[in-house]
Symmetry: C2
DNA sequence: ATTAATACATAGAATTATGATGTATAGAAT
DNA sequence: ATTCTATACATCATAATTCTATGTATTAAT
């Protein structure tokens, strides 16, 4: 795993982005998806994930429906309108930051670029 | 400026990397270099930079020589042997993290890659 | 029957960047 | 002359975020 500090500021964007792609997900599903897409290199801790979801909800960027599956309940989250806007902004900022960081760290290379 | 959280974990790597490239720099010089390379998009705050340098020194990753310039004094920092090792590790980790993050966020694209 | 996986959550600890503030020198502008 | 800006360092309280540890409970697998 990576230094936990590197993850900072990216967790919220990751969640918003996944919800934008998938439409609706519950917490544990996000955990699994991130683990899968990252080749097991990013393992979200539940002590990080659930508070992050709670904060997104508090900030009205996501809403959820509770769904019972047997006797267990899942909270299916989806983006609010505000959340959609924030997702776009967040991804934009993150892309730019990564591009800028590349310029600082590797000034002699063809730097980071995504379309 | 970017969300300050995004910078977390990257400031130390940036400093070590610049010192590896430039050999020796003083604090304000690092501030200027980062500002220049980032097209003014990363403006280090002295409340971040000097404590970061102090921590690197405490951790024996850098050493410095005080040089008087007129009546002002500069602290010229350079990597210790330990610092050189950490610089390599830190850059490696950061590159990998950025690549992994790209995979999670943009699974359908030709992802981030630097040689 | 026990373990691992699923599914949520909270509270305290740790880390790190920021804002505010402080000291002081040097050059530029008015 | 004076004022403003840049140079050059530093500390401290605050804010933000993730982690560890802990807790509850259901379900599937061995």
């Amino acid at each position: 795993m990576y230094s936990k500090e590197l993850l900072k500021g990216t967790l919220q964007v990751m969640i918003l982005q996944l919800l934008a792609e998938q439409g609706s997900m519950y917490g544990y599903e996000i955990y699994q998806k991130v683990k899968e897409l990252s080749d097991e290199k990013i393992i979200l801790k539940d002590g990080s994930l659930y508070p992050a979801l709670a904060k997104l909800h508090k900030d009205k960027l996501v809403q959820f429906k509770e769904v019972a599956v047997g006797k267990r309940k899942r909270k299916y989250y989806e983006l609010t309108k505000q959340g959609q806007e924030q997702q776009v902004l967040g991804i934009e900022e993150l892309k730019e930051f990564m591009a800028t960081l590349s310029k600082v760290l590797f000034p002699n290379q063809n730097n980071y670029a995504l379309n």
